[in-house]
Amino acid sequence: MVGLVVASHGRLAEELVSTAEQIVGKLPAVATCNIEPGTPVEDLRAKMKQAVSRVDTGDGVIILADLFGGTPCKESLMMCQRMNLEVLAGVNLPMLLKANSLRSEQMTLPEMANQLASYGQRNITCASALLREAQQQPRT
């Protein structure tokens, strides 16, 4: 099973995982990693390595970082040179839920990472505009 690490500033990573678990139940092979103000980069680097090795079962790991260019993302990118690792930035809840369910399907790690990036983007919608359209063409 592909391992997942959610990496963020502050408590976002933990809260995202706990929110996802509220919706679909316990997520297997998922770890979190966070950087608090004042955390030395070396500590974060050690935490990231630990998180990755905790969820790596040999099928590779996808890191879902909160912000492109932020420290969790940058540190993940340093690691992906040496390991079977893909890094996504701009994590959102739909992406994390999809990451969990995609693991039961047959695909390469880079394919899975690419699919997740576009899925995350597709799931950012102007919901009120969609509702206005739906009211004009009712489905029910």
Binding site: V24, L131, R139
Partner: protein
């Protein structure tokens, strides 16, 4: 065919869309609820949450033909808002050997029997009567969770008093 009947006061929401629909592989969701059916806005908003490949029907409870849903070959999830609606469905053609309790939220006179289910005494009695007719009642918010069966729910209800 009816694959699952679920009591959930939120009807169609995150747990249903993200966990139950993929798990059950249904092609139809039927919301049997007067309040939801009476509002075009609620109907549109709930249907919007379900991918377009899945048919969504949102109807007043009395207008749902449970017998027809049971007979055709379309895998169906039936959603009811509360335990009080369940006997009506069973009296009008629903014949399924199991009932899932998803979210039954807290209110005055209700006791907690699982993380997401709070039952009033009359509801517990209703469920016990269903069980006597051979229906397996379970509380389970999401498929991956361990189901809690009615004997345990009843025991917890008594203890919570």
């Amino acid at each position: 065919m009816i694959t699952l009947v679920r009591v959930d006061n939120r009807l169609i929401h995150g747990q249903v869309v993200e966990a139950w629909l993929p798990h059950l592989k249904v092609s139809r969701v039927v919301v049997a609820d007067d309040e939801a059916a009476s509002s075009p806005l609620i109907r549109a908003a709930m249907a919007l949450a379900v991918q377009s490949a899945i048919e969504v029907q949102i109807l007043p409870l009395s207008q749902v033909d449970f017998a027809a849903l049971s007979k055709d070959g379309v895998r169906t999830l039936v959603l009811l808002r509360d335990v009080a609606s369940v006997p009506f469905a069973y009296a009008h053609g629903l014949n399924l050997g199991e009932l899932n309790l998803g979210n039954v939220h807290f209110g005055t006179g209700r006791r907690q029997v699982s993380p997401s289910v709070f039952l009033a005494e009359a509801e517990l009695r209703t469920l016990q009567q269903l069980a006597e007719q051979g229906v397996r009642v379970e509380a389970r918010a999401v498929p991956a969770e361990k189901p809690v069966e009615l004997p345990d729910l009843s025991e917890r209800w008594v203890k919570a008093g």
